[in-house]
Subunit: 467 residues, 2 copies
């Protein structure tokens, strides 16, 4: 059992740290964007250095006090709030937001974990490079949390998930020791890959304090189109066509359903929607200077039309038009939020099973009631945000009792098709039960053994990922 | 302490398995390419299914008998042979070499661990796709071993290491449980990434039995050149120039030193060497159909010449010429083998430190004696094979007593420059001491804790990676 970070412990901890490192936990650190949980916390720690993080973790380990690591607070599965139990230390990395080093010629940027993603992108761009991780919360999400949750987003198709963008990490392990792995190597086969173990562990195996990140050349030309497709299966064939023409240069391939556009019209009417159809995809190529971007897109469009994979479309002719197309995609979550989902699902599937999932889930859910379904997302990665809403005139509150059945219906189907019930958001506290239900038993047992080995007292983010 | 796989245990094990699964251990399973170690083994197990692997591992766990997993036997650090101690079971996956499934449109190929890399490449190519892992031993190395050691090779620059090419694995864990993670998902954030933990663990945390692999489009055009460069630093600036012109399409960037060419002339004279210079790079671009390959290479060559980064060169004008250029690069290890190295080093460095390492290591080694140094390899990855040879008229046997000092000299310098003493070959048994010496103490402690948690009896590849 853990002990509380009570006044006595806070006083003890304060004595080990510079003045001002500890504060009372203000309300902002106890909430999460979906308002499913309210967190608890005994004291807020705002360290400025890795050594201070280590002091905090060592003190907590000695006193068996829990630690909830806090990045930007944007996680969607409750990994950043502990809703009960012995009061933990809330450990925010926000004061550790410095650039440790940048090597533009090597394509490496080393930053502290508290740096906001948008600032990381800016630092890369100022050096003439691209840090490709990009997602809705980039203005507040911090790189430590993004790595801890192996964030995905809009450019995974071309550049990979957060883990693929990380060459090395520095972290404080649950015993307070400091893992000094801030390398900037492309190859390093010296023992177990603890970087990949900590990435995606959601703060349950340690606190990431810094990371060396991969930078890429900024594409010389970007060409973007919003295309009407006959359906999800055709959309995936369209992706194959695109990859054949510009292999490795398709940087976004986002599915948009009519329902999402109707939500925008209903609750975010300020967003102009250039086309409305049952299914659309937002396609973006990032091309080198040597290719003729317009000709490439024209060739793609023509081939796709001939093959019956595109029925209509808009190709952005200016940066403003491109921004307009993206505004549609980027506002889909806001539309969802304003409507209020009964249940949201961050799922991934083998690409070949995406169309089947969409068809079968709709049919299965219809047997449970009447819904509006907004199925959208990172189709190129097989990652759908399959969100279920009340029909007009009803609210999510009317369906409080249905949520579990809806979720089960979708997740069972995903599981039966070889998919994942958490594609990019993680497990947090929301999906602990799902992991137990759908996770491979051998994997779960190994995870528990690793957790017990590295964090025997269970102080790191108690209750997240593993019960 | 472990028990021997003696006659009694072999008889017990035979009773659990189909006839013919067990054999005496023939000599081929007890050797490794560098002839540094001769292995021992009590019985050879040749399972045909994952369940049979699980039966073997469970029986070994119960009896505390060691297991040495055997792939293609091509590893260069002795991971595949146990040179002493209680006789282990040698577990070869060679009979598990089937394709489990192929999804060309998804870019996924699932194979059993015993499949030889060349066969994996062939299976992909037959489906119109590329499996990009490529290295000297591809005709005998098996995919399970390549994943267990996170193999690198010639195309890492563009496509990543073995771990980056793997979407999921099936493995038997040290307790005999089967990790069923043969997914074909691009995104899956459901708990700790055991795939990445097992990849690179060199068989010490379990036996990989199958893997789902990423396939890529076959580049429509490949253009290859052998270019004379002023030195390693210019070579890296040349790489930057190439990445600017064809970002993400540079698929090989291999450094070749004059010494390597002289070795070829001396001991592999049948290989024609088109150019001789102090430093050369073999550059290869894989381009889509839409680019004009010759014009791109010409632009690159001209820009590089103008910048003083290229002094001379040969651009392959036919597939035969391309093969000829590659023959030079591919025969460098054979030249080395025939000369006989005092000490070979598989090192990686931050790209910005490569030139410094080369300059300083040469100077430092000169203080230890007279050598011929062949420094070559995957420059684009910061990965050098920095191999030290006797001068003409002397042999490696004359330097038996110098090996340790030479190795220490190179590795100390690599470590001081933030590099790795095992870039792509792994730790095996050769570098256990190096890992202890140069490894981060927190990392080593965590590795030991994980090993103890997952393999408490220490049966999996005893003595490899960790003492």
């Amino acid at each position: 059992m853990l002990n509380a970070a009570d006044a006595g412990f806070a006083e003890h901890l304060a004595g080990l740290l510079p003045d001002g490192t500890l504060r009372d936990v203000s309300a902002g650190y106890l909430t999460e964007p979906r308002s499913r949980w309210a967190g608890v916390g005994g004291v807020l720690a705002l360290p400025r250095t890795t050594d201070e993080v280590a002091v905090i973790v060592r003190a907590c380990a000695a006193a068996r006090v829990g630690i909830v690591p806090w990045g930007g607070g944007t996680g969607l599965v409750g990994g950043q709030v502990m809703p009960g139990g012995a009061l933990p230390v809330v450990l925010s990395l926000e004061r550790m937001a410095a650039v440790r080093g940048i090597w533009p010629d090597e394509g490496v940027l080393a930053v502290e974990a508290g740096m906001v993603l948008a600032s990381v992108q800016d630092a890369a761009r100022a050096a003439g490079r691209l840090f490709p991780l990009s997602l809705a919360s980039e203005g507040s999400a911090r790189i430590g949390g993004l790595l801890a949750t192996n964030a995905g987003g809009l450019n995974v198709l071309r550049y990979g998930n957060a883990r693929d963008l990380c060459l090395g990490i520095e972290a404080v392990l649950p015993d307070g020791s400091v893992l000094r792995g801030l390398k900037r190597l492309r190859k390093d086969n010296t023992g177990y890959d603890l970087r990949h173990l900590l990435i995606g562990a959601e703060g349950t195996l340690g606190v990431i304090t810094a990371a060396s990140l991969r930078l890429y050349p900024i594409p010389a030309q970007v060409v973007t189109a919003l295309l009407v497709v006959p359906g999800p299966e055709a959309a995936l064939r369209l992706l194959g066509l695109a990859q054949g023409i510009v292999p490795g240069m398709v940087q976004a391939f986002e599915l948009i359903a009519r329902q999402g556009l109707e939500f925008l019209a209903e609750v975010v009417p300020e967003v102009a929607v250039p086309l409305t159809a049952d299914w659309q995809v937002l396609v973006e190529f990032g091309l080198p200077a040597r290719m003729e971007a317009e000709a490439v897109m024209a060739e793609f469009y023509e081939a796709a039309s001939e093959a019956g994979l595109v029925l209509d479309g808009v190709i952005a002719a200016s940066e403003a038009q491109r921004a307009g197309l993206w505004r549609v995609r980027e506002n889909l979550p806001e539309g969802n939020r304003r409507i209020g989902a009964v249940s949201s699902h961050d799922i991934s599937l083998p690409l070949g099973a995406v169309a089947e999932l969409i068809a079968r889930a709709g049919a299965a859910l219809a047997r449970l009631g009447d819904w509006r379904i907004n199925c959208f997302g990172h189709l190129g990665d097989g990652n759908l945000h399959y969100n279920v809403f009340p029909v007009r005139g009803r609210t999510r509150a009317d369906h409080e009792g249905d949520r579990e059945a809806v979720k089960r219906c979708v997740h069972d189907l995903v599981d039966s098709l070889g998919g994942s019930v958490s594609a990019e958001h993680g497990i947090g506290r929301l999906k602990v039960g799902d992991l137990e239900r759908y996770g491979d038993p051998a994997k779960l047992a190994a995870m528990r053994a690793i957790k017990a080995a590295l964090d025997p007292a269970g102080i790191m983010n108690p209750g997240a990922v593993l019960r």
